[in-house]
């Protein structure tokens, strides 16, 4: 179950990395939210799971309001991003399973892929909607790190993460006014 | 006097500066009066604080926060150096007109110098000394931005070096308070830092340092104050180094090296002076020369050497006034100030040099050779002084900032003060006793004579009659004996080393990356890459950091 959730997290992150349309971005954000909530649920952090789910779902829904229309999943020039998503997945798998020890490899994998893929997206986008989606995903990822074992912040961190993610998606798009 | 009174000599110049800054806009006269009164008040206060007790007074006002306690102390050494800074500063502030900004900065600079002298520890001396140096630079820039001034970086480096010496003392010895530092903490590296601070902070260098260069400024108002403030501070550090080492430097060879450096400084100044093309150029070398001799005497390591150094420092402090007030043209004022500074008998400088060089030769060994070099250097300086009489004036100074009569009186007084050498000796030996063990022989000197290891100098009985006879003979003599000069006298010897150094410096200044290689190093492109928010650079640097810490 947790392994599936971790895989879904990677898929969601990869979609955010690849997608350029509002639907694609919302889908990715939704998948990441679902994965993290699932992991939290599996770890017995039910309240945290609900908080992340609420925040993430709101963020995904709000994302559908603005940004370039459509899915924009296989735009020309997206191949390098697909490869990058795969490379990040493999590296995350190495760190989560081979290098680190103990239980919870799926959890670690999910943390790594969500944060790394959203960071990669942040570095490679010009569109405000895309950047804000990546930032919201980042918030959910960090919230997951804080709310799931062995961290102590628990519910509070999950609530803050959910609020931040939703808040980010709620923000209007800004265009430069020229210096 | 209660210990808090020790704050008065620092506070009064600040007060004067504050009044100069606030009321100065109304008229420069008010600024001049307040600034000079503040400094005069500090001079009076220092004497008034010390006289009733005639022993060291201390006050501790708690911690400052950077490892240094706010300790103030006034001992006899402090008194001597305070007066060496305050009297010339006060006189120049009184006699020379300045804008209110210059008066304000000058007053603050003097206050900082006082704080450096009264500081109870190395760190506070460093902070106050650096403040004084900063204000001197500002003062020089306010007077004339394009004129030569000491390198700010060099001065900051000097005082940072002293601060570093202070922290090393704290780390090694647990404290940087002069009176409490264990002798074992005063190591060669600490002394090296202290020497660096002193040499570069006070421009005590054999080449043409800032103390010479600033005399090529059009106006010499700020230059006089700069030297009067910073040069005594530099020598003060070497004196305190004796206290830190319980009367000694960490190694005896350091004394020899430092004394040799002092002679080099004096020789460098004398060599440049004998090749000067104008009287202004000659005057620029007088103070470095005096400081070099003071440094040599100070470094001898004996009580007599230290006493001689203190006498020479005090003499220099008076001569600074004369030089700063002297017009560029020749005549009796110039002749008298030059003679006094050159150490013509029976002047006070003559007495100080006799004692200093005598101390070096009596020390024997390598120090004796340094003393021998010192005597030779003295004669080079005398030759330069003689030649300077025939030099053209050089760039003229504004008449309002020169007072030839006062300068002449100072020159004459310095020549006539020779017989008072014994008194100066008594005062200086009392001061020297604060930092090293002064032999009973040196202390038990009567008013008339000075007893050294091998001789007795009959100051009053020899120099007194010489002064009287000289005065009578000069009064009777025929002034028309002065031969009119024909053209600029040639230098006594050419300065090959200086010419070579100048060539090298120019070559270095002209050095540039050859055009065909410039594309390899393009600062603009480098800046664009670094500041352009380039993700590739970010990722590369993360990888680099990861490799660096995980290998």
């Amino acid at each position: 179950m947790t392994a599936v959730a971790a895989f879904v997290a990677w898929i969601g992150g990869a979609v955010i990395l690849v997608a350029d349309g509002r639907r694609g971005l919302a889908l990715g954000l939704g998948l990441v939210t679902a994965a993290i909530a699932g992991l939290a649920f599996a770890a017995g952090q039910h309240a945290a799971a609900i908080a992340v789910l609420a925040g993430g779902a709101a963020a995904a829904a709000l994302r559908l309001r603005s940004g370039p229309p459509g899915w924009g999943l296989t735009q020309p020039g997206s191949t390098p991003r697909i490869i990058l998503a795969i490379v990040i997945g493999i590296l995350a798998l190495y760190f989560a399973t081979s290098l680190s020890t103990g239980d919870g490899s799926p959890l670690r994998f999910a943390w790594l892929v969500v944060i790394a893929l959203s960071a990669a997206r942040l570095l490679d986008c010009e569109e405000p909607a895309t950047a804000l989606t990546a930032a919201a995903t980042l918030a959910l990822g960090i919230g997951a790190v804080a709310s799931l074992p062995p961290a102590a912040a628990g519910l509070a961190a999950a609530i803050v993460a959910g609020l931040v993610a939703a808040g980010i998606s709620a923000l209007p798009e800004v265009r430069p006014h020229g210096a | 006097m209660t210990p808090p009174a020790l704050l008065i000599p620092i506070v009064l110049p600040i007060l004067g500066a504050a009044i100069a800054a606030t009321a100065g806009r109304a008229g420069h006269g008010i600024a001049r009066a307040s600034a000079s009164l503040g400094v005069w008040g500090a001079a009076v206060a220092v004497v008034a604080i010390w006289l009733p007790v005639r022993s060291t007074q201390e006050i501790s006002l708690g911690q400052l926060g950077f490892g240094s306690p706010f300790d103030l102390r006034l001992d006899m050494i402090g008194l001597v150096f305070s007066l060496a800074v305050l009297i010339p500063a006060a006189t120049l502030l009184t006699l020379q007109p300045r804008t209110w900004q210059e008066n304000t900065v000058a007053g603050l600079g003097v206050a900082a110098a006082m704080a450096a002298i009264e500081a109870g520890g190395v760190l506070m001396t460093a902070v106050a000394g650096c403040t004084a140096a900063t204000l001197v630079v500002i003062q020089l820039d306010v007077e004339d931005l394009r004129a030569p001034r000491p390198s700010w970086a060099l001065l900051l480096a000097a005082w940072l070096a002293l601060a570093w010496a202070g922290v090393v003392l704290q780390v090694v010895g647990g404290t940087a308070v002069y009176a409490a530092v264990p002798v074992s903490a005063m190591t060669v590296p600490v002394f090296a830092l202290l020497a660096f601070a002193s040499i570069f902070g006070g421009g005590l260098v054999p080449w043409r340092g800032w103390t010479s260069a600033i005399w090529s400024r059009t106006s010499l108002r700020a230059a006089g104050l700069a030297v009067a403030t910073l040069q005594p501070l530099a020598l003060y550090l070497f004196v305190r180094a004796y206290e830190l080492g319980d009367g000694h430097y960490p190694q005896s060879w350091l004394n020899v090296v430092l004394a040799a450096w002092g002679v080099l400084v004096a020789f460098g100044a004398a060599a440049r002076a004998q090749a000067a093309t104008t009287r202004r150029e000659y005057m620029a070398e007088v103070l470095p020369g005096l400081a070099g001799f003071a440094l040599m005497a100070l470094a001898v390591g004996s009580a007599l050497g230290l006493i001689a150094a203190l006498i020479l420092t005090a003499s220099t402090a008076i001569i600074v006034i004369g030089i700063a007030l002297l017009p560029d043209r020749g005549g009796a004022p110039s002749l008298l100030v030059t003679a006094a500074a050159a150490g013509v008998p029976p002047g006070l400088v003559f007495g100080g040099r006799i004692l200093g060089l005598g101390a070096a030769i009596e020390a024997g060994g390598a120090m004796g050779l340094v003393g021998l070099a010192g005597v030779a250097t003295w004669l080079v300086a005398a030759a330069a002084a003689a030649r300077s009489v025939g030099l053209p004036a050089g760039r003229g100074r504004s008449a309002v900032e020169t007072l030839p009569r006062v300068a002449m009186m100072i020159g004459a007084a310095m020549l006539a003060l020779g017989p008072a050498l014994a008194l100066a000796y008594l005062a200086a030996s009392a001061a020297a006793a604060d930092v090293m063990n002064v032999p009973a022989l040196a202390q038990a000197t009567g008013l008339g004579t000075i007893v050294t290891e091998s001789t007795v100098v009959p100051v009053v009985s020899l120099l007194g009659p010489l002064l009287v006879v000289g005065a009578i003979a000069l009064a009777l003599s025929k002034r028309t004996g002065l031969t009119p000069r024909t053209g600029e006298p040639p230098p006594l010897f050419p300065l090959y080393a200086a010419q070579a150094a100048a060539r090298i410096v120019n070559a270095l200044r002209r050095a540039a990356v050859p055009s065909e290689y410039r594309s390899l190093f393009n600062p603009r492109a480098l800046e664009n890459v670094a500041a352009g928010g380039t993700p590739l650079l970010w990722l590369a640097s993360i990888v680099a950091l990861a490799i660096a810490v995980t290998r």
Binding site: R108, A153, A156 | A126, D141, L160, A531, S541, V549, T550
Partner: protein, 405 residues
């Protein structure tokens, strides 16, 4: 409940200031009152005492509290003596938002929550209309958040020591990126408004963030303390050299000011990296000086820079002295503390540091000239900034005690 109020009141002040934009005077008064309330809450807060009113444990460390107080003082006097071309209510609005965020970062129970608050601040700043594209303004600080996040992930992983070191890399690099120091410098447009430029990160929010991240890093990866110190010192030296030289040689005065902040941060990083009390005290002094002197002076230099007015009057030279870290200003005791720390740890580093300290002078002389010929409010502001620097330089003890040093 002080920590909660310390976050909530400035946040409310900022919110009111935004809501009342059409009525700037009212916005200013309300914002000021609520901001003052927030500062009062910070002042009343006991360092280390936890409060759990909202189900989340908040507490302020001594160092964080002192930095918040100093930041509030800086904001107050920048608003009171605001540059002629700046709107007071706008300054207060953004200042209070920053202050609320800083309080949140400082009071948060874990680094994750601090980072989430930082992310919120990052996104909020990027939302303001600015000269640069939104995604570009978001890129560097959000990337910093991601790096810290990755560092946290590695810190949470059990396994070989290399993981802790990787965590240290993430945390230190993330902090550097959040500040916008080398090699993670944010894109900079000299003509951009200060509020939307990278300056608030390096000059206003940065100090509190640095204290929090460095303190938490030592707790999270204790065995990697050496690696953290080495990275901080290495990056610190890099920033000192680059910042000083670039501030001296770069074309635009605005960029020169930005590089000068970077150089100061280099010193602070070295201080934190040395890992001894004196080094940290020196770093704190540098950060106080950034907040109380360099940032306000930068704000007052912007108008003359636009007018291309450069002079060398006494006040310009005094500003140069203050910026160069010359005595009697704040930089000098900070340098003394750093030298002491370096001497007690590894004396050759003190030699390198001492040499590097001289690099400040040429750039500071240049920056001093950019103040132009200050008059009226600008002159008063510069005088207050210099007075703060002087007070810090002569008697830093009270602020260091406030920071628990």
């Amino acid at each position: 409940m002080e920590p909660e109020l310390a976050v909530a009141l400035p946040a409310a002040g900022a919110a009111f200031a935004v809501a009342l934009r059409p009525r700037p005077r009212l916005a200013l008064i309300l914002g000021a009152v609520l901001g003052a309330g927030g500062v009062a809450a910070v002042l009343l807060a006991t360092p280390g005492a936890a409060s759990n009113l909202l189900g989340i444990t908040l507490s302020l460390s001594a160092a964080g509290r002192s930095m918040l107080i100093v930041a509030a003082i800086s904001l107050a006097f920048v608003v009171i003596l605001a540059p002629v071309n700046a709107e007071r209510s706008a300054l207060l609005r953004w200042g209070l938002a920053g202050l609320a965020g800083m309080a949140g970062i400082a009071a948060a129970p874990t680094l994750e929550v601090s980072v989430l608050v930082l992310l919120a601040l990052v996104v909020l700043q990027a939302t303001v209309e600015g000269g640069r594209p939104h995604a570009r303004r978001l890129r560097a600080p959000a990337f910093a958040v991601a790096l810290i996040g990755l560092g946290l992930v590695f810190a949470r992983m059990a396994g070989p020591p290399v993981l802790e070191r990787l965590a240290a890399v993430g945390l230190v690099a993330g902090l550097t990126a959040a500040l916008g120091a080398l090699p993670y410098m944010h894109e900079f447009d000299a003509d951009e408004r200060t509020a939307t430029s990278p300056i608030p990160w390096i000059a206003f929010v940065g100090p509190v963030l640095a204290i929090v991240v460095i303190t938490r890093t030592h707790e999270l990866v204790p065995s990697a303390a050496g690696a953290v110190g080495a990275m901080l010192i290495g990056l610190g030296l890099l920033n000192i050299v680059w910042g000083c030289v670039a501030a001296w040689r770069t074309e635009l005065p605005g960029a020169a000011w930005r590089y000068s902040f970077i150089a100061d941060w280099g010193l602070a990083m070295c201080g934190f990296g040395l890992g001894v009390a004196e080094g940290e005290a020196g770093a704190l002094l540098i950060l106080y000086a950034i907040l109380l002197t360099r940032l306000p002076l930068y704000l007052w230099s912007r108008q003359p820079m636009r007018e291309r007015a450069q002079t060398d009057r006494p006040v310009n030279l005094l500003v140069a002295a203050a910026l160069a870290g010359s005595a009697p200003f704040a930089g000098f005791p900070a340098r003394i503390l750093l030298l002491r720390a370096a001497t007690s740890v590894f004396w050759p580093f003190a030699l390198v540091l001492a040499a590097a300290l001289l690099l400040w002078i040429p750039s500071s002389l240049r920056l001093g000239r950019t103040m132009g010929m200050p008059k009226g409010r600008q002159m008063a502001g510069i005088a207050v900034a210099l007075a703060f620097s002087l007070a810090l330089g002569l008697y830093p003890q009270p602020l260091l005690l406030l920071a628990g040093r």
